[in-house]
């Protein structure tokens, strides 16, 4: 068994991996979300907001407004978060006054 496989097996059994005692800051999570979305958008077209909502995933209030607008689906799949003020605030403040 390789070192990595042994580590994986042990990490499964250690509670710290399943129940972390420390939480990542909210601004870090916002930053990660933006980075991952940017990465995904660079790799190919994202799914439209209408499709995301129909799959039962929640949309934020700004995404929901955009989804309701009578515009083409390709516009709704353009990662609106990259130009959103909420993203900028969320990445810089721990409890950002977003809405």
């Amino acid at each position: 068994m390789s070192e990595d496989q042994a580590f994986l097996r042990l990490a499964e059994r250690v509670d710290a991996a399943r129940h972390p005692t420390e939480r990542a800051p909210a601004r870090l999570k916002s930053r990660l979300y933006s980075v991952l979305m940017r990465q995904q958008a660079a790799a190919g077209a994202l799914r439209s907001l209408s499709v995301i909502r129909s799959e039962g995933r929640p949309l934020c209030v700004f995404e929901r407004s955009l989804e309701l607008l009578p515009i083409g689906e390709h516009v709704k799949a353009m990662n609106p978060c990259r130009v959103c003020h909420a993203r900028v605030l969320g990445e810089r403040f721990e409890a950002a006054p977003i809405f």
């Binding site: 990595d4 042994a6 580590f7 994986l8 097996r9 042990l10 990490a11 499964e12 059994r13 250690v14 509670d15 710290a16 991996a17 399943r18 972390p20 005692t21 420390e22 939480r23 990542a24 800051p25 870090l28 999570k29 930053r31 990660l32 979300y33 980075v35 991952l36 990465q39 995904q40």
Partner: protein, 160 residues
């Protein structure tokens, strides 16, 4: 994503203290690598464990790079790091690894030696038997001690 981020953040913070300023960048690196290598994830473990494995490699890379280009130690401020509240993940991992190793060694020993060692109660016979009589107890202790020494020698030779 929030759950995974918490697990990776928690692990990295614990491993990188006092350099907690690096944690957030490394968490980002870990998730980017995970996204790129998602198709290589075989599903033999949980996603969290897989992410922590990537984080472990990142920490090793970081310390390796520090060894190649050592900086002045005075720049590190232990006060600014803040307390680490999480119990040592790696210590528990090392403990589990040691247990695993003992189990492997015991599995390779002949049955007689193992039963002599554990007695099926989790204790060695030397610890487990109180005995009732005085001289009888003394004799039992002596023989148990001799058996324990034999087991120790057998285990030692297997480990080496």
């Amino acid at each position: 994503m929030s759950t995974y981020t918490d697990a990776v953040y928690s692990y990295l913070r614990q491993r990188l203290t006092p350099r907690t300023d690096l944690v957030e960048d490394l968490v980002q690196d870990v998730l980017l690598v995970a996204l790129q290598k998602l198709d290589t994830f075989a599903g033999h473990s949980s996603v969290t464990a897989w992410l922590i494995l990537i984080a472990r490699h990142k920490v090793e890379d970081y310390y390796r790079s520090q060894l190649r280009a050592p900086g002045p130690l005075a720049e590190l401020s232990l006060e600014s790091a803040g307390p680490v509240t999480q119990p040592g993940f790696d210590e528990r991992l090392d403990g589990a690894r040691a247990q695993e190793k003992v189990r492997r060694v015991l599995a390779r020993l002949p049955d007689r030696t193992v039963s002599c060692c554990s007695g099926g109660t989790g204790k060695t016979q030397y610890e487990g038997h109180g005995g009732a009589g005085g001289s009888n107890r003394e004799g039992s202790r002596t023989s148990a001690r001799a058996r324990a020494q034999r087991v120790q020698a057998a285990v030692g030779s297997r480990v080496r």
